[in-house]
Symmetry: C2
Subunit: 480 residues, 2 copies
Amino acid sequence: MRRPGALTGLTEVRDHSLKGQNISMAHDNDRLASYDQAVKAEFDQIEDLLRDLVAIQHRPDFVAQAQHMLQEHLGFSVPETLLSNAWVEGLDVKSLAAFCTFETYQRFANAAIQSQPLAHPNPEVFQDLLEACGFHWMDITPCSDGRLAHVIRYVLRLPTHLVRRKSYAGAVFDIDDNMNKWVEVELGRLRSSAGQVLSDSRYLKIVAYHYSSVDHAHEGCAAHGSDDEAAANAARDVLHAFQEAVQNSHCCGASIGLMMIGVDTATDRIKIHLPNADGTLRTECFVSSGDFFMPHQQVDGPLRQKIMAALEASAPGCSPGMVQLAAHLMTNNLAQLQLVHDHHGDGYEDVGHAERFIGVGVGFEEIQLRNLMYFAYLKTIEEGATDFAVGMKIFKGLNSQRGLPIPVVIRFDYHGHVPGARSRAVARAQRIAGAITQHYPDEIATGQLHYVQLVRDLDGPTPLEILGGTINADFGGAHP
Amino acid sequence: MRRPGALTGLTEVRDHSLKGQNISMAHDNDRLASYDQAVKAEFDQIEDLLRDLVAIQHRPDFVAQAQHMLQEHLGFSVPETLLSNAWVEGLDVKSLAAFCTFETYQRFANAAIQSQPLAHPNPEVFQDLLEACGFHWMDITPCSDGRLAHVIRYVLRLPTHLVRRKSYAGAVFDIDDNMNKWVEVELGRLRSSAGQVLSDSRYLKIVAYHYSSVDHAHEGCAAHGSDDEAAANAARDVLHAFQEAVQNSHCCGASIGLMMIGVDTATDRIKIHLPNADGTLRTECFVSSGDFFMPHQQVDGPLRQKIMAALEASAPGCSPGMVQLAAHLMTNNLAQLQLVHDHHGDGYEDVGHAERFIGVGVGFEEIQLRNLMYFAYLKTIEEGATDFAVGMKIFKGLNSQRGLPIPVVIRFDYHGHVPGARSRAVARAQRIAGAITQHYPDEIATGQLHYVQLVRDLDGPTPLEILGGTINADFGGAHP
């Protein structure tokens, strides 16, 4: 059976990439760019194909022909019930669009889980560097805006499995949730030390806020009303509050390193803010990677020295390890600026939101691509109402205006080795589905909003498990 | 200004109790019984007083006379707006009843926070015993049924500040939440050890389920359909699952001790289930305190030996420390059985539910009294819908049938030293209030359901802070 499309083709790219450790930046850039384009093309061709199907829906052999075209262009067929009534009622484009989006998402996610297409060429180099710089853990909170979803692997060129990421609207993370994570990390570290004296290393917490150099007033962070200063101030405040919370609750030894990164969503340029001698961050003090970028330049010793010097000058008294790590992130970012230059010229074509679906819940680790998904990280709609409402508003502009449905993927990942974890994840997914139906009854009834519920066992490369959704049909590639 | 009533009078009792460490059981019993009666009397006289006010509501000097009577009997006056329109519209008994309940609750809670009326006479004895038995932490999950709220200080005679309590409907606790707590406790222990080798002590997790010896079929645990076996099985299963979850997530060294206690809500007799040699609990194997109780007996060495022997026989291979601790709990319970015998004869008069209000949120540590409050421990109504619905059902029987409103206290405690903690607690309380209004619009509109929102800073003996509620009036003893 032919399985066309980029999702499966990516395995080759990855096999190739693992041949040598010292993969060149150019090679890494080609690989990252082609994966990004291929995945998005899979989503974007759905609309074109559905337009073609609409045009032929009244032909007598429509069902067979449609399945053939779906198989040929998208790589899967759809449940016959989504096609067979077209001659009576007209093709149900909304259900079909939602089904194809969910099916494409699953195929993409399962392929990513299986073959790790974004595997970093040399993660151990980063691990060693992080430790040498005095940190045992790196945790980034980006804004949940889809234009920041690629911050780890693309913008900063880091291995995704070595950096914890949890997105929040406006990058203002939940302090209690982050305290729990800190406590868990520290316990693991202390337990594994088996009573030995521990190194004086720190937990590094980074917030990635964003702004737009193309259209400051409209394409900045929606959660902060596109006010760049407000976005940066909020990032600084939540970081200081987190540090203080940990220190107040777990005494002086509990030291946390802080860093703030501003991402220009139009160009992927970054501003790095480092803490000065007394540990505070300032929004007006930063170094911008744009100042060091020249197309096709060699990132050599002198350039690194210049970057280090600029970082040091921006935050007098900052720890040398922090400066060194920041310099690493900044030189990494130069590779991304080269990618953007090569593939997008002066900046991205999609300056604004162009996400393909909304993701709701806890999980989605495979989403490391820009502008693919709007993420509402939440456990209940009651608490996450704002995050979800922002997503709905964005998609009413993106999809509803064109008559297309808003596709919502509800997903909760769990650890299968924890008893009852799966059933709790399932219950959460079902509760969210119920709450969405309760909050958006009209959108559900008219097919403007479709959802699918998924869970995934993180203990192993297991595929997504489909629980159900608004479309009463099978998912998951069961179709020949 | 005269401040009558038991709430303030209790300070004397407490001062007296601290004079000697070896307070006799009889003295402790008198003190506990009189506090329980006094607090409940404060709540119960509200209805009588309101009936008296109704009878005189059309007198010309009603407002002044009503305030005088309120002050004299309840110890506080009420905002005049709750009285002044009675001559036109008839007395708004529902708002008045809710106001008086909320005001009484606050006075009770603030007095309890301030003067610690249930302070244990010798907490250090228990602390030493716990450690000697091989445990560094004791954590009890009782059912959220109000008839179990006194389990720590009354039924088991333990110091409340040395035992963590968090109630769940059916005593089936949230494993993830409890894992977080375990991790936090272990981190604190490891950090404070400063690299020294730690003792081999364990974290003790206890579940207290319940049944009724008077009316098994109707007065058992509502969450398990009054099926005693189902309640015990659920307790066993969640304990085993928790142990497995911790061990799977944090390897073999993470050992957890388990114990299960069944409480007869009609008599406060307990059944203790201990784990046998392979660590498993069995619902059919237990020792019952009722078998050892004789009124006014001396709890001497031979009796203790008999209890120890029975416990050992019930769980072959159980650790000696666990048996010793269980024997301590069982002899403690004999004191409570004496209290019940002295003050309630063969068993409680209020066999069924008789809670005075519903508590929703996180906190309520001062609620250590039986059948005073139905507790829905939750952070969102979306997740805690079942717990809250069970409470509403109970109160529709208790209050609504008599025309009285259902009083709901929404409360979130927080640690003031954690930045932003207060504003998060406030946001939670407001979100819950909004969700209740959304879920029960008719009950709110007709005054059948009233709520008040409170927060409290746990870092210090600070009183409750009132945020607002359905009654547009001042609370908190601002009335002369």
